[in-house]
């Protein structure tokens, strides 16, 4: 028995990646959930909005690097993030004005808006590929690790190392900041309160003089900022590829629905639930178990419950289970 080493191995391979991935999903799911709460449709273009924001940030990063500006030990992309957010805000406001507004004025059924968002998804997908191509792009620079596995080993004298990647730490820190600002905005400011009122009861909100156009505009701006941040954090942690971002749609929706669509706290909880289940179920537990089990009982195989390619299956299975037993999600979401 060697609980300490087991714990460190667990932290290194499960907890740190899970925390970072969960934070990325949570910020993505917040965007989906806000659109659902205020505009009342499932936005299929969200993954591609993330991809667009990230592509813009990558371009700005390259420009900054070209004129010799870096962010010291931190990734330069963080400096470029405001530019990416700005461009994405312009894009989504433009799309809203060109496309979604028409259907909103018509009071179209939500499912029509979903199909419209499929069209937007196609267009954005094409635009992103046009701008930046289809290749895998790594754009993280600066220090790669806060603590490397080797430093940790020499520091503590344990067999197992705990590596903390800079991008993982940044993801968690940024996520905390973003969520804090968002909740402060929704709960304390006048605009945030009117957004919540609009989400709870549209007619009542309109009666009390809330300007729906303003609410919708602010929602799109926040969603663009969230989507870009989530996309950049994911890209820093892993890498950027247009197609991968499109595929992120599934875990993000799963997170939003598991938490309860339309409920921001639910989106965050859902993000972590999905991330940790994906990581724990596809992780090969042998490394942890060898420290916990007596030698005679050591497992032969990898003790991997499912191969990593089935991670979609995991998020999906959780989604189905939650929907079957608690249809409005873990935290009470809306149902239309």
């Amino acid at each position: 028995m060697d609980i300490l080493n087991a714990l460190v191995a667990l932290a290194n391979f499960v907890i740190m990646p899970g925390l970072a991935y969960g934070a990325q999903l949570a910020i993505g799911a917040l965007g989906v959930t806000l659109i659902y709460g205020i505009l009342r449709f499932s936005n299929f273009a969200h993954g591609d909005t993330m991809a667009f924001g990230t592509a813009m940030t990558i371009i700005a990063t390259n420009m900054l690097l070209a004129i010799g500006i870096t962010f010291g030990p931190l990734p330069t992309a963080l400096l470029a993030l405001p530019f990416g957010i700005g461009m994405t805000i312009l894009l989504v406001l433009g799309i809203d004005w060109l496309v979604y507004k028409f259907y909103r004025d018509q009071k179209a059924k939500p499912v029509i808006l979903v199909i419209v968002s499929m069209g937007v998804m196609f267009v954005m997908n094409g635009v992103v590929r046009f701008i930046i191509g289809v290749n895998d792009i790594r754009f993280a620079d600066g220090e790669r690790f806060i603590i490397t596995a080797r430093d940790f080993k020499t520091m503590t004298g344990l067999n197992e190392g705990l590596a903390i990647k800079t991008t993982q730490a940044i993801t968690v820190v940024v996520a905390v900041i973003v969520v804090a600002i968002l909740f402060w905005f929704l709960n304390k400011t006048r605009t945030g309160k009117s957004m919540r009122a609009f989400s709870d009861n549209e007619d009542l909100a309109l009666l009390s003089g809330i300007n729906p156009d303003w609410v919708v505009k602010v929602t799109w701006m926040i969603v663009a900022a969230l989507a870009t941040t989530a996309g950049v954090l994911y890209g820093l942690d892993k890498s950027f590829k247009a197609f991968t971002y499109f595929q992120l749609l599934l875990p993000i929706f799963a997170a939003a629905i598991v938490g309860g669509l339309g409920n921001p706290i639910g989106a965050i909880a859902g993000g972590f639930v999905i991330a940790f289940s994906e990581v724990t179920i596809t992780y090969a537990w042998k490394k942890v178990l060898v420290y916990l089990m007596p030698e005679s009982l050591e497992p032969d195989g990898l003790v991997q419950l499912l191969s990593t390619d089935y991670k979609f299956a995991v998020s999906f299975a959780i989604l189905i289970i939650v929907l079957l037993f608690k249809p409005t999600g873990l935290f009470k979401g809306q149902s239309v």
């Binding site: 449709f41 499932s42 496309v99 028409f102 939500p110 499912v111 029509i112 979903v114 199909i115 419209v116 499929m118 069209g119 937007v120 998804m121 196609f122 267009v123 954005m124 997908n125 094409g126 635009v127 590929r129 046009f130 191509g133 289809v134 197609f243 499109f246 595929q247 749609l249 599934l250 929706f253 799963a254 629905i257 419950l305 191969s307 390619d309 089935y310 979609f312 299956a313 998020s315 999906f316 989604l319 189905i320 929907l323 079957l324 249809p327 149902s335 239309v336």
Partner: protein
């Protein structure tokens, strides 16, 4: 203009487009487009059944198409005797253990109540999972070890490949039944996410379960329902007939096989179209549309909405499965890595919306027209980009971007078409009557 005249005109436009492609780019290309267009039309027919008739929002088309492709392998490839001997039975036993676990868990759910229920269900699931993995993994390892470079899977049944088409439909229908049972009670956008997820899982299974259809190693050289070009070229009678038409044997043989496929596909399409038209105009079809337009009212009239939804979900998915089996037969290979949701799910949706949801002829027209466009956008886009870039100096980066960008024109064009049709003609080219 009266509707039937307009429809004839629309189909004539389609014909002219294909003829034009044949004259400009050669008949081989045109026939290739026609064949895939016919398959796309069948997929669109399936989605139209679900969305146009019943308002079910299924975006898991890709999964059912892939299951149809799997059926082609399972039916037409010769069985690998050695692999069956090595671990075939054990794989089957493992699968039975897995199915038994799920059945037992469902039984426990129904039989017990309260806290005991949770414990018993969880216990059954965990124990069952480990038994299943123990039996199944050993069998899979044995099967995959048999000549992994050439086979490494169980093979199929060695039956005629045409039989795979209905079987593909059945396989897709079976999957649709399971999905429908769990997910159809959900609201529309939950169903959408659920089907999207199922499709990804089906592709993941096809990619990873090498014992089933070799995974990403692909199954190639599937038997064909029409003659091989090489055999035709070696057949003196065929060469003579080709010569009498003024064609060289190579061209004649490629055209001959493509027309052969085309005729087979057309027969299937016409049968399905006839059935779909009959269904649409029957009391059953009217009931479906009544349910779509007002579920509460239909329920009040004593219609079993859930059962009807399940029924039409299965039927539509089966049609997608048939189309998938046909497509794999046409390709002659099963390549799980090429299934992408944009191409196999969302493109079919563009076909249905553009053609006119709720109208079978619209689905067929949309399927063929959008497929033509999907193929032609790249050459057309490249031409356009070359014109745009002609003023720019050779080697400038903008020029390169523009010309490289032509490859990504497809998605952009499809999205724009979908948005434009939804905005200006939301009922599609041939609207529902």
């Amino acid at each position: 203009m009266n509707p039937s005249l307009k429809n004839t005109a629309l189909f004539s436009v389609l014909g002219v487009l294909i003829l034009g492609t044949g004259i400009v780019q050669g008949w081989n290309t045109a026939l290739l487009i026609v064949n895939m267009g016919l398959i796309s039309a069948i997929m669109a027919l399936g989605v139209n059944l679900q969305w146009g008739f019943a308002g079910l929002f299924n975006i898991g088309v890709m999964g059912f198409v892939a299951l149809g492709g799997l059926a082609t392998v399972l039916i037409s490839m010769p069985p690998v005797g050695e692999a069956w001997a090595a671990g075939g039975l054990q794989v089957i036993l493992g699968l039975i253990a897995g199915a038994a676990t799920i059945a037992a868990a469902i039984f426990a759910q129904k039989r017990f109540a309260g806290r005991i229920r949770t414990f018993v269900t969880l216990g059954v699931l965990i124990a069952g999972f480990f038994i299943y993995r123990a039996v199944f993994d050993a069998g899979v390892d044995a099967v995959e070890a048999v000549n992994p470079a050439a086979t490494g899977y169980l093979g199929g049944l060695g039956l005629p490949v045409l039989l795979a088409w209905p079987v593909g439909g059945l396989l897709a229908a079976g999957a649709a039944w399971i999905i429908g049972k769990t997910a159809l009670g959900l609201r529309s956008d939950y169903l959408a996410i659920a089907t999207l997820g199922i499709a990804e899982i089906i592709i993941a299974v096809l990619k990873n379960e090498d014992w089933l259809a070799r995974g990403v190693k692909n199954v190639i050289g599937l038997p064909r329902p029409v003659a091989y070009e090489v055999d035709l070229q070696n057949d003196p009678g065929f060469v003579e007939r080709a010569a009498s038409l003024g064609l060289d044997p190579v061209t004649a043989s490629t055209l001959y096989t493509k027309i052969g496929y085309g005729v087979l596909f057309l027969i299937v399409l016409l049968i399905l179209l006839w059935l779909a038209q009959k269904a649409l105009n029957s009391p059953w079809g009217r009931m479906m549309r009544a349910i779509r337009d007002n579920e509460v009212a239909a329920e009040a009239m004593g219609k079993d909405v859930t059962a009807r939804h399940l029924q039409i979900f299965i039927l539509g998915s089966a049609i997608c499965g048939i189309a998938g089996a046909m497509m794999t037969t046409l390709d002659g290979q099963l390549t799980p890595g090429t299934y992408q949701p944009l191409r196999f799910t969302f493109l079919v949706w563009v076909m249905v919306i553009v053609g006119g949801s709720g109208n079978n002829f619209g689905a067929v027209l949309g399927g063929m027209l959008i497929w033509w466009l999907w193929v032609m956008v790249e050459p057309l886009g490249l031409g356009l980009m070359n014109i745009l870039a002609s003023g720019l100096p050779e080697g400038s980066s903008l020029r390169d971007t523009l010309i490289d960008g032509a490859a990504h024109m497809r998605l952009l064009t499809m999205g724009l078409i979908l948005l434009l049709v939804l905005r200006f003609s939301p009922r599609g080219l041939i609207p529902e009557r």
